[in-house]
Symmetry: C2
Subunit: 141 residues, 2 copies
DNA sequence: CTTGACTCTAGACCTAGATCAAAGGTCTAG
DNA sequence: CTAGACCTTTGATCTAGGTCTAGAGTCAAG
């Protein structure tokens, strides 16, 4: 519960969150982070809220959300009550997209595995099922 | 076994393989396709071998190989005998990379699923496990 | 006060894999 | 012969998510 007033430079924020300074400025340009206060010198001045928001962005990115989707999530999370429903919907959509991607990769994976297993690893290229599958239409499983 | 002499324009090749004309020229620039013969007019003149090679590239790409890896595969496939071993090795590496990617996606997927299941879909943002997980470090499973 | 680390802006550049535009030459059906 | 489809080149543009540069100003330690 350490809510004392802090004033962090962009470098300090970057270090805390583990992200590059340029990335923070980039997120600001892209509307993912609000424009921070400025010192007299023009230096950006951040507080803990900015650190939290930046961590939010990074975690959402780790879950595979695009920056555009994250912008949307941030807007929704600011909407007390009504936002929750929409956030859940976005998460479900993301989950479905991941499932689809996994299924697709699994299909490719299994096809490739069959080829690898069938390949003796020596002999002429004509006998290699991997090369045959790549060259001949009809050699596909 | 239709190996009669054919001469195809780039457009005809593109249509047969189902790829854009620009993509064929791009592959040529990138060294994935040999420079074709030219008519007196300068038009590229392709034969069935080029069509086969282009299909090879497309199939390999569908299996998740990058264009750089495909360049390598093409070189290997030209090596009668010794190439087969290396091709199998590349395919095994590709398979391992896909497995790793699937495992990673599955981890993310399961984490996200838990959050979705725990979210009531209404109420205040503080009660939404999805938002909590994104905001708070310690709310992570 | 000096030095070195930090920050500012605007804008260029990067990867991968294409895709498009402009300005012009060629080919073919009618 | 002409319309219109097709082809040529060079070079720019796109997506996504940053990363880097130059030139200038600021801050903190000693």
């Amino acid at each position: 519960m350490n809510t004392h007033i802090t004033s962090l430079t962009i470098g300090a924020v970057a270090k805390r969150v583990g992200v590059a300074i340029d990335t923070i400025r980039y997120y600001e340009r892209e509307g993912l982070l609000p424009e921070p206060l400025r010192r007299a010198s023009g230096y950006r001045s951040y507080d803990e809220g900015a650190v939290r928001q930046l961590r939010f962005i990074r975690r959402a990115k780790d879950l595979g959300f695009t920056l555009e989707e994250i912008r949307d999530l941030l807007a929704l999370s600011a909407d007390r009550h009504r936002g929750v429903k929409a956030v859940k919907k976005r998460a479900q959509e993301r989950l479905a997209a991941i499932d689809e991607r996994i299924a697709e990769l699994t299909r490719v994976r299994n096809g490739l595995e069959q080829l690898v297993e069938a390949c003796p690893g020596h002999g002429s290229p004509e006998q290699c099922p991997i090369l045959r599958a790549l060259v001949d239409e009809d050699a596909q499983s």
